[in-house]
């Protein structure tokens, strides 16, 4: 028999209270770990995604809106730019690759993005990784009405090779706005875990010359993805000066990661609120441990007095109650990993559906170590109050049965 067996007995004797309290801790642990992990992972993922490009050129407006539209395929385009702007930047000596994009249509809520084959042939969405189509498919012919469907869209809409569809006008799905053109699915993208998975890719001209679009804007594009030579910081700086400071017609969003980091800075308050909520839940959980054990001490006065009469020292009783509190916290912290996995599963699915970015549920984050550790310490700290109460119990007064 050791102090641990005293603790174990007590936990078993108060099984319901132990389970409910541990569940509170589990919620706190799960929430704390998932908030922290989602924040870290999403920040790393979003600031790391650039579709293999360094910058985006678009109409005068918000850099963030431009990047969200051109890279993440969310938000509306800040406006169009002329084909000549594309030709100009393509010729810029600092530019290694420029790929035009045109948006404005959707198919059942998933946007169609018009581009040139360069997007697939010459760019790498991550180091050493190029877009690939699944076996049996191919990239579109820019002169035909063909489509390459992102992996996520294909799965959601059940699109297969050889399927045809009619695009709908606008970025929001409205059945009344169907275009008459028919597109043939010739390729399904292999999963890239990037926003490209959430898009249907068609030739640039397809978007530009879709029936119902303004014929005067038939040569306009929505944005240009720009890859600088050797990722040149100097080149980026010069172009930033040229487009953003000296010019007033276009916006050059560079570097992409920094623009997205700005978004996270703006959303920092939201992270802080979530983190604060998880801290509060942790404090409530610690409070529930304190209350549960503190209340149980009253009915355990005789048991504690018996232990003391048998020779248990005050510090032994104190330590046993402290360990009991820490054990409840530890149980909760362990169960918290289950809640963490559940929250992460839902969060990653939502983020993937909304942005195409995939979070790894079981990716190591330091919060997975310090989070549960801090909760166990907090639980033990909360246990100090009832432990002190138990410490002070007078043996002689409490040896008689409590009626």
């Amino acid at each position: 028999m050791t102090i641990w067996s005293i603790v174990w007995k007590s936990l078993r004797q108060h099984a319901l209270s132990t389970c409910v309290t541990a569940l509170c801790v589990a919620l706190a642990a799960g929430l704390l770990m998932s908030v922290w992990s989602v924040e870290d992972q999403s920040q790393a993922a979003f600031t790391g995604i650039n579709a293999g490009f360094d910058a985006v050129l678009g109409a005068r407006g918000s850099k963030l809106q431009l990047v969200l539209n051109a890279i993440f395929h969310v938000e509306s385009s800040p406006g169009n730019l002329a084909w000549s702007d594309y030709l100009d930047i393509q010729k810029n000596p600092n530019v290694a690759l420029a790929v035009p994009l045109a948006v404005g249509d959707n198919y059942r809520g998933y946007r169609l993005v018009g581009t040139t084959p360069d997007f697939f042939d010459k760019s790498q969405y991550a180091s050493g990784k190029r877009f690939k189509v699944m076996p049996g498919g191919r990239f579109f012919d820019p002169t035909l009405r063909e489509a390459v469907v992102g992996n996520f869209v294909a799965r959601r809409l059940g699109l297969k090779l050889g399927d045809t569809f009619h695009p709908y006008h606008g970025l929001i799905f409205d059945e009344k706005n169907q275009h008459s053109e028919t597109y043939l699915v010739v390729g399904l993208l292999e999963p890239s875990n990037t926003p490209a998975d959430r898009v249907i890719w068609i030739p640039l001209e397809g978007v530009q010359k879709m029936t119902g679009h303004d014929p005067n804007a038939a040569e306009d594009i929505s944005a240009v993805l720009v890859k600088l030579k050797g990722g040149s910081a100097l080149g980026g700086f010069q172009m930033d000066m040229m487009y953003n400071k000296q010019g007033n017609r276009l916006t050059f969003a560079w570097p992409i990661g920094q623009v997205i980091a700005g978004l996270f800075d703006k959303l920092g308050w939201f992270d802080r609120v979530l983190t604060l909520v998880s801290y509060l839940v942790a404090v409530v959980a610690a409070g529930s441990i304190l209350a549960a054990i503190y209340n149980s001490i009253n009915e355990r006065r005789r048991e504690i007095a018996i232990l003391r009469a048998l020779g248990a020292r005050r510090v032994t009783v104190f330590a046993a109650i402290l360990l009991e509190a820490a054990s409840i916290s530890a149980l909760g912290a362990c169960a918290g990993f289950g809640i963490y996995g559940f929250i992460m599963m839902i969060a990653s699915e939502v983020i993937r559906a909304q942005t195409g970015v995939v979070l790894e549920i079981f990716k190591f984050d330091s919060v997975l170590l310090w989070g549960p550790g801090a909760l166990v310490a907090l639980g033990a700290l909360a246990g100090a109050v009832p432990a002190f109460r138990a410490y002070r119990i007078e043996v002689a007064q409490n040896l008689a049965p409590i009626s």
Partner: protein
């Protein structure tokens, strides 16, 4: 030197009306090793308080309790706890078994605070008191008499030099009371432990050769007439 030597022991409590009531006033009292002493006293005469003072559960207002050569009043509380665990076995009036622990665990737990856990000895003690087939039973699954036998085994768990028994027959009928008392005496004898028993039950104490009136050693107790 006697195993237990008490002198000038005094203990008072504050009554409900704030007045100080002296409960214990023992001039001199000794228990020699391996002897068995019975004290008879009425309920409320301070017998339990007296035993608590001997066990170091209560601190006296004044006087000395010399147990196994150690002056209780000079020991820190933790030292008294250790001395109690290793030197004294206590059979409480209400047995005070821990309800969440099996018979065996009750005995093992007492060992863990004293001379260390010895599972074989714990089992042999429970077999000795006739509970060899009840090792894994919880107190609530036992009769009152069986619970008391667990309390006896637990009191002997640390091979104590002195066993204190407080009204050990108080919760038993006459037949079981006699049997329990005989068992306590016999097991103490077998384990070379001295026995100090306090009870109001004249009938139960009749099996002792000599019964001392508690009122004769405690100056505050009302005088009684021996049976």
């Amino acid at each position: 030197m006697p195993l237990l030597e008490i002198s000038q022991l005094k203990k008072s409590f504050v009554g409900p009306e704030g007045d100080e009531q002296r409960i214990i006033d023992v001039n001199y009292f000794t228990v020699a090793s391996k002897t068995q002493i019975a004290l008879q006293g009425e309920s409320g005469s301070g017998k339990t308080t007296f035993l608590h003072l001997i066990a170091g559960i209560l601190r006296p207002d004044s006087g000395s309790v010399l147990l196994a050569g150690q002056q209780m009043s000079q020991l820190k509380e933790s030292q008294r706890d250790r001395l109690r665990a290793s030197t004294i076995g206590y059979i409480f009036q209400n047995f005070n078994l821990l309800q969440g622990y099996t018979c065996l665990e009750n005995v093992l737990l007492a060992m863990s605070f004293g001379r260390g856990v010895n599972r074989g000895f714990a089992e042999s003690l429970l077999q000795r008191v006739g509970l060899g087939d009840r090792l894994q039973h919880y107190p609530r699954q036992l009769s009152t008499g069986q619970q008391q036998r667990v309390a006896v085994a637990r009191a002997l768990a640390n091979r104590p030099k002195l066993v204190l028994a407080d009204e050990p027959t108080g919760n038993l009928d006459q037949r079981n009371g006699r049997a329990a008392l005989a068992l306590i005496r016999q097991t103490c004898h077998e384990n070379n432990a001295a026995l100090l028993i306090v009870s109001h039950d004249r009938e139960a104490l009749s099996q002792f050769d000599h019964v001392q009136l508690f009122s004769q050693i405690n100056q505050t107790s009302p005088r009684e007439v021996p049976a």
